[in-house]
């Protein structure tokens, strides 16, 4: 089941804590159950996004890396 993203966020070139802050803002504009896709280049975002989702109760559906880019799919809970 691959829910299409309701919104995408390009956080490439931004450094800590901006990718998290922008993600938080983007999630706030979604309805529960909708999915946000984030692309970032901050290597710290891999762990930070996990921690952010665990703390805020949103679901990290997938995360991955391709070249220098990090991808995240987050479902708003």
């Amino acid at each position: 089941m691959n829910t299409p993203a309701a919104q995408t966020l390009d956080a490439r070139g931004l450094n800590c804590p901006l990718p998290i802050l922008r993600t938080k803002k983007a999630i706030a504009s979604l309805s529960v159950g909708e999915v946000l896709e984030v692309t970032a280049t901050d290597p710290g975002s891999l762990k930070d996004m996990e921690s952010f989702c665990a703390q805020t109760g949103n679901e990290l559906l997938a995360s991955g890396q391709s070249g220098g880019d990090f991808f995240f799919r987050i479902r708003k809970s």
């Binding site: 450094n15 901006l18 938080k24 901050d42 703390q55």
Partner: protein, 194 residues
């Protein structure tokens, strides 16, 4: 016969029941609680301005309640016009890198004595921060304000340095003293002194 019935509730089973209920209730309470953090910001240099604003904005993104108490030189972080500087003086581990990544092979203790060095170093640092995609202090402060981080100013510092309140941003939640800040800190899960 009633006594036999009651023997089901042995001390042991009661203890067990209580322990289990207590653990459940505590977990419920923890889950419903909003974590909180208080930060005391005492430094007004560019490099020392980052930790309070980064931690505060991130904590609020995690859903925490955050208050920052700005005192002494930290109060200058709440001025309308920020002109923050970084100094090599007393900052021996500060690497002196040009924005292109080259490091200057001069000890910071010597560089600190050169006239005009501080403004040059500050300019270079700001340029590097920008190239690396690190937010400016102005931007982070704005994000904190948007996220309802409580910015608390130390009244004594204003009097001490003869500041005018009109020099500061209007978003300051309160002008208070230590006695008003400490009760907030007392209830916070995380207290930091920067």
């Amino acid at each position: 016969m009633g006594a036999v019935q009651h023997s089901n509730f042995s001390q042991e089973s009661l203890d067990q029941w209580f322990d289990q209920r207590f653990a459940e209730k505590m977990a419920e309470r923890d889950a419903a609680r909003t974590p909180s953090m208080t930060i005391i910001a005492t430094k007004g240099a560019l490099d020392m301005a980052y930790p309070p604003f980064i931690l505060a904005s991130t904590a609020s993104a995690l859903g925490w309640d955050v208050s920052i108490f700005f005192t002494f030189y930290g109060l200058s972080l709440l001025k309308k016009n920020l002109d923050l500087q970084v100094t090599p003086l007393g900052n021996p581990a500060m690497p002196m890198k040009l924005p292109n990544g080259t490091e200057l092979p001069i000890p910071t203790s010597i560089m600190a004595l050169m006239p005009g060095f501080q403004s040059m170093a500050s300019g270079m640092m700001k340029k590097t921060l920008k190239t690396k995609g690190v937010a400016s202090i102005e931007e982070l402060r704005e994000l904190c304000i948007e996220a309802d981080v409580k910015l608390i100013a130390c009244q004594m510092t204003v009097d001490l340095f003869d500041y005018g309140k009109e020099e500061f941003i209007p978003e300051i939640a309160d002008w208070v003293g230590a006695a008003s800040f400490l009760p907030i800190a007392q209830k916070a899960d995380v207290n930091l002194f920067v």
